[in-house]
Symmetry: C2
Subunit: 413 residues, 2 copies
Amino acid sequence: MHQSQLFTKTRREDPSDETSKNAKLLIRGGFVHKEMAGVYDYLPLGLRVFNKIVGIIREEMNAIGGQEVVLSTLQDPELWKKSGRWSDEAVDNWFKTKLKNDAELGLGFTHEEPLTNLARSHIVSYKDLPRYVYQFQTKFRNELRAKSGIMRTREFVMKDMYSFSRSEEEFRQFYEECAVAYMNIFKRVGLGGITYRTFASGGSFSKFSDEFQTVSEAGEDHIYIDDKKRIAVNKEVYKDEVLKDLGIKKNDLREAKAIEVGNIFPLGTRFSEALGLTYKDENGKQMPVIMGSYGIGPGRLMGTVVEILSDEKGIIWPESIAPYKIHLLSLGTEKKVISAADGLYKTLTKAGVEVLYDDRDLRAGEKFADADLLGIPYRAVVSTKTIAEDKIELTERKTGHTSKVTAKELLSL
Amino acid sequence: MHQSQLFTKTRREDPSDETSKNAKLLIRGGFVHKEMAGVYDYLPLGLRVFNKIVGIIREEMNAIGGQEVVLSTLQDPELWKKSGRWSDEAVDNWFKTKLKNDAELGLGFTHEEPLTNLARSHIVSYKDLPRYVYQFQTKFRNELRAKSGIMRTREFVMKDMYSFSRSEEEFRQFYEECAVAYMNIFKRVGLGGITYRTFASGGSFSKFSDEFQTVSEAGEDHIYIDDKKRIAVNKEVYKDEVLKDLGIKKNDLREAKAIEVGNIFPLGTRFSEALGLTYKDENGKQMPVIMGSYGIGPGRLMGTVVEILSDEKGIIWPESIAPYKIHLLSLGTEKKVISAADGLYKTLTKAGVEVLYDDRDLRAGEKFADADLLGIPYRAVVSTKTIAEDKIELTERKTGHTSKVTAKELLSL
């Protein structure tokens, strides 16, 4: 991509109406645009990052047998009345709307009800189980406040998976497989070492659920980490009897603020019983299906990465989710520089390397500042000086380490 | 994919609450699920088709310089008041909702207003133009009636592109490039020969707009086709003075019902003036940006393909958008059949061929009926008979033509 043609521009100043680091940097870099509090658009560079995160999650979900669907936003009240989750008293963050005939509809904040209902058409016998179904779908949550940038918004894409199993044992096996897949995802997006599987309240569904918490001062959660076991306990269940139950010693724990980047929930028969999802077992007996739900918000993950992998100059994207791998900069307007940079851009893109090419007529300082802000892993500079040496000046964003390389070396990075 | 593990099942009977052919076949095949009138979920097989259509559209939009974004569903009334499109009198298909503080929001039915507004942050000078920005985004339209299956729904993904140009000339050049890209898309999804660029009303924006109409009895539009010129005129502008204007003779026209599968609109300065999107020209003068909009609904395209490319037995997907390329069927429960079919499935998938493998313990007749209904281009049968001949029985869904082929021939299809 020629940066001179890019739809978005960077800006030097922080937006005045944002307090979170992720929103400030993402807006300055032109990755996102704020429509209103808690509502963001994804612009070309931001969408590339977002889609790479989605791609990683999809791979991991497919690897454990997930089948992808997309359910609707508009929700029929009848299904939600069956589970007792339609009223605003039961669920305090519904967005609701109306059809022309005045019939009320909801905007889905999650999808247990419609998916359980539709599974009734496809799951009949024990032979139809287990099944794992997931989607990347836009959720709507009528949050009172929204001040954490793209980490907590009123409208966001969620990867929500639902498992349908015959027995508690079959369910637990998948639940643990999914926990492993989740840790793979956090590792692959660059948050591996600081993300902990965390015991949390199971709400009305079960004794415990599992959260995945990434340590960050920007987090809204408080967790207690056991560094030896590499697990944590959410403050909400940090009680003597719970710790005893889990075999965790208080003295082994340290407190930290953290961002909830994923969660997995045992649902038991809560929804299958309410909506009538049963299967015929080997003996011909109708049994309720055992369910679980598994959520990750790719936008929240992206925001978390920015909170953690950034410095005073800008973002430091991990290569796995960077909008481009190489940021190629031409310095100066001399013909031979432009022609060398043009040639290098062609060579790299032809070889399938993702390159953002800053071909704009700007001073070196401005280009360097933009490169630091955008946070593409490798900055490659072409100037009269580098041409004289028949080399390219390569700087790694993460370490700041600079070296002189050949075009061939750049290709095999 | 092993069909025994597929989340969805087919059904023999038409759903009783659908009148359109596309909804009947897509629901029977388990491609989609109806949540309520005009609201559908995409299930694994349906989502594969949908995503292939999206992929084709994306390629064509990128090829003409499109840059992809995703804007929000939730809409701030302030922007729409500026263009005069907020009130329900001005726009009769808004879905509206409310924040906790009772402030009203809209659910976007299109995105001229927010995109024009956000472009103000990025388009400043003549050097920032032209720009072409598109998205695949869920639109909400509060339709009074919805009875055309997935072709006209209350919630649907639209590919909407918006062009920003410096002059009428620059705008027209892109408009024509986009018209060519649109015809490429219709051709690639299998609707080439029967889709016509069609003069239609420009509404409040301009004299004419261009629709792309696919001839079908299921269509809601009436068009008049000039077969020699391969263009058409929508009934709404079928008037003597218009025909004269366009140089079309009434006698050359034939009437047909058609489905509007795409449209492109000159917007002039309608939105740039209302929302204050100007650029500084070479002489330092502030000028309003000339805009256009370009829409295609991948779901409507999918429904149109089903209306047209189907027979009494089911769907006939073109290979370009089929959920899988090959439908592999094992007949019987003999060990050597299962082992041969398993082996062939492995060989094909390893080579990157997309295969749905019907490994279920069902009678041949049931498997054949499902294969016809699902409409995958090639059906490959493995049975005791084919093993004896060391061949595979290959049947093309489109023609019904059957032949005996080797595994190697199957691989190079």
